[in-house]
Symmetry: C2
Subunit: 332 residues, 2 copies
Amino acid sequence: MGSSPTMNDVAREAGVALRTVSRYVNGATNIDSELAERIRVAINSLGYRRNLAAASIRPGWDSKVLGLIIGDLSNPYYTALTRAIEHEASERGYLLITASSEEDGTRHDKLVDRLAEQRVDGLIIVPPHRPARGWADVAGTLPPIVFLDRPVSGVQADSVLSDDIGGAREAVQALITSGSRSVAFVGDSLSIYTLEQRMLGYENALHDTGHMVRAELVCTDAHTEAQAREAVARLMADTDTDAIFGANNRATIGALWAFRDAGQRLPLIGFDDFDLAQLMQPEVSVVSQDVEQMGTLAASLLIDRLNGTGSAQRDYVLPTTLHLRGSEQRVN
Amino acid sequence: MGSSPTMNDVAREAGVALRTVSRYVNGATNIDSELAERIRVAINSLGYRRNLAAASIRPGWDSKVLGLIIGDLSNPYYTALTRAIEHEASERGYLLITASSEEDGTRHDKLVDRLAEQRVDGLIIVPPHRPARGWADVAGTLPPIVFLDRPVSGVQADSVLSDDIGGAREAVQALITSGSRSVAFVGDSLSIYTLEQRMLGYENALHDTGHMVRAELVCTDAHTEAQAREAVARLMADTDTDAIFGANNRATIGALWAFRDAGQRLPLIGFDDFDLAQLMQPEVSVVSQDVEQMGTLAASLLIDRLNGTGSAQRDYVLPTTLHLRGSEQRVN
DNA sequence: CTGAAAGCGCTTACAG
DNA sequence: CTGAAAGCGCTTACAG
């Protein structure tokens, strides 16, 4: 390292008072031009850089750093969210610390603590589905929070969500409209808020169209792509499943694998778009979330609140969009 | 906000000296157990959290925050890199600030400045291919750096690279071995280090097998997937191209699109693996970089250096792996 | 417009 | 083992 030059060093070098350097560095306009020049030269020759970390400990100054806790960067859904958040934050002068909880409650809590201790100005959080401790215990000690993807009750915070119920219902209805009668639900644990909601949408669609929810067509333990692949294989072999609703990305991709394994496909609609969906044969139909808007909105709500221009706290539920591309159709 | 409680508040509440609280918080073992208990109670009742930002301005203390500047989080290659870096950093107690330069030199320089002013302990940087200013101008004012994906000359820093030349050569040789004679190069600008290297590998492979480099088979202005798609379409229409080397992800996907548009495919090998490569028909052959190891190594080198356990500065060039999955074969 | 001084929340020799 | 004091790099009333 070799300790870097301080504002004090610059003041000495330029032969002015510390305060004058501070004003110069902070962009004050009314500075004697000769002094300003001496300061400029001193800064350059010393290679001085202001220390924002030090500046931010002063009362009323904030760090202009936001924290983001997501599940896992390997999930393209979270990646897209992160990108939008980072973009909006950067646009508005904030840096972003990104951390992955890996859906582990304890790890998540540690990250929250660390970020709070780091004195980030605000937090955007995708809460883990099995929290290790209650939010109420720590809420008072945390900076402003916006929850993303999943809401948290009992905490003062905005939430930005998608219409999981509506999206799932629409997808399942589309499958039924295309002629399927035994639509299977393939997804992860219902203890995950979004999956629970999508299950509700699935049930709604069945009820609306006069169908029963049949337990043997419901798989809620496909945590990975590989498990979804197996689950779909089993559904195809053991039941009269005639269409698949992939309740998340991994489920959908798993189904595509199972189709390839079986050498035959079933009508399919997935929740969440993915990169090459349109390059598949047939193109994969999906319900897509407006991920970019979700991220932008979350960052923007948080920053508005930090600036005191936020409105009353509420949940924002963004609509989803059904993209019918072909894979929903029956095979004959 | 409402200013949060400080160590001073805790000391007063517990009826001990500030220093004792500091020692408690920093995990000193030898503290009178009765005092420790009083401090514990005071911390809980006040909802005190240590202020790491304040602590880190003291001499010899560092922030335990690293900065990462990449091109763009929408590129899965950078995402994978980021994930590995974040994982290693987290594993070793560091937080990670991630920022996107969007390949813009000026924006990149601003991020470097901001991160330096934020006093991150170290920086991992994918340098933009057209830097707006020279590294020499600022090198002295920056924390330790590890360059990733592309090297930078004239700066004291480690670099973590892939064997772009070797990987490209191997890919092109494989296409030739499969019977292709007019292998086209489709990629982005050669002012990007990795693309320049891959072009070298392409040329090497041609020379090694007694072929000439033919200008009409070389496309180096496919900056986007869409442009690559058009470029491949043109190659198929206007030249005798009988195989495509996709010099990056976007080029490869663009080629797949062009194949679908044309209703026929050419032998293809791409540089960089992608998520659904094996779900395509035929499965897409690629040269893959060991992205996870690159990220882990970069973070690990940086942290070792911060801890004073780093070795002499050098470039690390990681080998690539050719995955032949079928798409390299000729169509008949 | 500029200087000398106080203070942000914290850690660390220095005495006891 | 613990207390009162100095100081990290910075900003900001307070005087001039």
